[in-house]
């Protein structure tokens, strides 16, 4: 029934046409980013560049002040790595205890995390902004990391707890019977075993943090610590329709995440298929 017939070949051809059409925006993106200024206005917007140049990239990369894209890239990396580290450390510890405990408080606390997944962030951001402004955390990288770790913690705990529930206790039990303390059991037995869950948590939360615009705009907009999306938003706003420059910035912002995706695409797709619930 599921043999490869002529009809299947036709279907394969059709799906490829759809795929190429879907990916057409990437052609415009690259073609335009390589066009020199004069070509942008003189030729059709859909034509490939006749004299490709990288000058747009050098120009936007060397822009200083508020438009410092490299600084924004660095800020984004720091915030994303910091948030992932916090989520993995505190999320795995909390989920491990909650998944293994038989006490009633464990179940109640787990529901605390579950309900928090449903709470949208928009409402909480207003008081958080006011609170952060009072203690001087607006515009700081550390404050941003705390915000992301806190707001994505329910997701991390949920993912880790699901993983720990399916993990047999035998190794932990054996280690404990041999006299290892709970801390040692966690570090030497659980930590090496939880790598697949850590991968899912890192990819899902890392992607949200890296691409976040709403809270980054509120907390970092106009500061020296702008992340890539915020910096891109202001820079593009000042460029009006110099599309070759705009697209140079867009490509620079896409390259790190695309490289990461191509490197670990299987894990990305699995994470989204099974992780988000």
């Amino acid at each position: 029934m599921f043999r490869y017939t002529r009809a299947t070949a036709v279907r394969e051809g059709v799906v490829w046409c759809v795929a190429l059409l879907t990916l057409l925006p990437f052609y415009f993106l690259v073609a335009t980013a390589l066009k020199p200024d004069d070509e942008l206005l003189s030729t059709s917007t859909s034509a490939p560049p006749s004299h490709p140049t990288l000058s747009n990239f050098t120009e936007v990369l060397t822009a200083g002040g508020d438009n410092n894209i490299l600084l924004a890239l660095l800020n984004s990396v720091i915030i994303t790595v910091g948030s992932i580290a916090g989520l993995v450390a505190f999320g795995s510890l909390a989920a491990y205890v909650l998944a293994r405990t038989t006490a009633r408080w464990g179940t109640i606390t787990f529901y605390l995390f579950l309900i928090a997944i449903l709470l949208p962030t928009q409402l909480g951001l207003v008081p958080l902004y006011i609170g952060a402004r009072q203690v001087g955390l607006v515009g700081s990288l550390g404050g941003m990391i705390v915000l992301y770790v806190g707001s994505l913690m329910p997701l991390a705990v949920f993912l880790y707890a699901g993983f720990f529930r399916g993990l047999p206790r035998d190794y932990e039990e054996a280690a404990a019977l041999d006299g290892a303390s709970p801390g040692r059991v966690f570090v030497q037995v659980v930590l090496p075993l939880m790598a697949p869950a850590t991968g899912t948590v890192a990819i899902l939360t890392g992607l949200i943090v890296w691409n976040d615009f709403f809270s980054a705009l509120i907390f970092l907009g106009g500061s020296d610590n702008q992340t890539l999306p915020v910096s891109m938003y202001y820079y593009v706003g000042s460029l009006v329709s110099a599309w070759n420059k705009v697209f140079a910035i867009v490509i620079i912002s896409m390259v790190p995440i695309l490289a990461f995706y191509l490197f670990a695409q299987k894990k990305f797709i699995q994470g989204f298929a099974g992780g988000i619930k």
Binding site: T8, P25, P120, W243, F260, A273
Partner: protein
């Protein structure tokens, strides 16, 4: 002493206390029954619990409180009851933002699910290049919505590729994003283009649970393609339908990035959404109370719809 190992079902694993101490002596102190094997310590969960309590619960409660005040971000404020909500429903811009948000959310839900399911069905089996195609269709999901929106803003530009293409078939060029009737549709297209790959992946995971044998048996019994889809495939992927539709609805209701990048809410408020209004009222105009009321409204809509969605997609046995 019971020497059984604690299995996952056991509530109390090995219990210390009855262990005869070497030499036959029992220690004098009364013993607390404490599990011999404790998996971690309760305080390991404390940092995560505290962060969630403050950043989710306390902050949300605070936001809900501000919604009933006239605070402007500085100084004192008064409780104004439901005044903010009255103002929301008397303001045509806010009503428009509410309508736009609902239109985008439901359009997004339908579009991503229909196209995503179609793609998943096409890429489920038999195609030789299906793994490569999955990777390609999923690619836009990982990109920043803001960056993606800029690419589409160019495509919708008056001098842009879209007008070139419709020019080939003899249609007049349009000002896509500056036309109040078209701009909202453009936002919808960009949202759907970016997220359909994610829905596809959720449905692929669901389709993997449909057994080829059952499908074959149905085919042998004379069921056509549609009947097989309706009576074999759909019942097995019901959990995926629930997940994908709830996720898309919630993501659609909070649409912000695409609007900010494509239109900024224009032309003349034609693409304003609740999230863009929350941002503008609160952080640009410093109407903290009013902005919080808008955010509370958005939150309630999200909660109500996700509960309804769960009820609608789950209880159909």
């Amino acid at each position: 002493m019971t020497a059984t190992m604690g299995t996952p079902q056991d509530t109390g694993p090995l219990v210390r206390g009855e262990v005869p101490v070497a030499g036959g002596e029992r220690a004098a102190r009364p013993r607390r029954y404490r599990p011999l094997i404790s998996y971690g310590r309760w305080w390991w969960a404390l940092p995560a619990i505290l962060m969630v309590l403050v950043i989710h619960y306390l902050a949300t409660a605070g936001g809900a409180l501000y919604a009933f005040t006239d605070w402007t971000g500085i100084g004192d404020f008064d409780l104004v009851g439901l005044d903010n909500f009255r103002r929301i429903f008397e303001d045509p811009t806010m009503i428009g933002a509410l309508e736009n948000t609902l239109f985008l959310a439901f359009g997004f839900l339908v579009l991503t699910n229909v196209v995503g399911l179609a793609l998943a069905l096409a890429l489920n089996r038999t195609l030789k290049t299906r793994y490569l195609l999955r990777v390609l269709f999923f690619t836009p999901v990982v990109l920043s919505p803001l960056a993606v929106s800029y690419v589409w803003k160019f495509i919708f530009d008056f001098r842009g590729p879209l007008n070139t293409v419709i020019g080939w078939v003899g249609l007049e060029p349009r000002v896509w994003l500056a036309d109040p009737d078209l701009a909202l549709w453009c936002v919808l297209v960009v949202m759907a283009w970016q997220t359909t790959g994610m829905v596809m992946v959720i449905y692929l995971a669901g389709l993997a649970t449909v057994s080829p044998e059952v499908e074959e048996a149905a085919a042998l019994d004379g069921a056509g393609t549609w009947q097989r889809f309706r009576y074999v495939t759909v019942p097995s992927i019901r959990p995926s339908i629930a997940i994908a539709s709830t996720l898309m609805l919630i993501q659609g209701l909070r649409v912000f990035d695409q609007v900010m990048a494509l239109t900024g809410g224009g032309p003349a408020g034609a693409t304003e959404t609740l999230a863009t209004q929350v941002y503008k009222e609160t952080f640009a105009l410093s109407n903290f109370g009013f902005g919080a009321a808008l955010a509370l409204l958005l939150t309630l809509i999200m909660l109500v719809f996700s509960v309804l969605q769960q009820a609608a997609t789950r209880d159909r046995n």
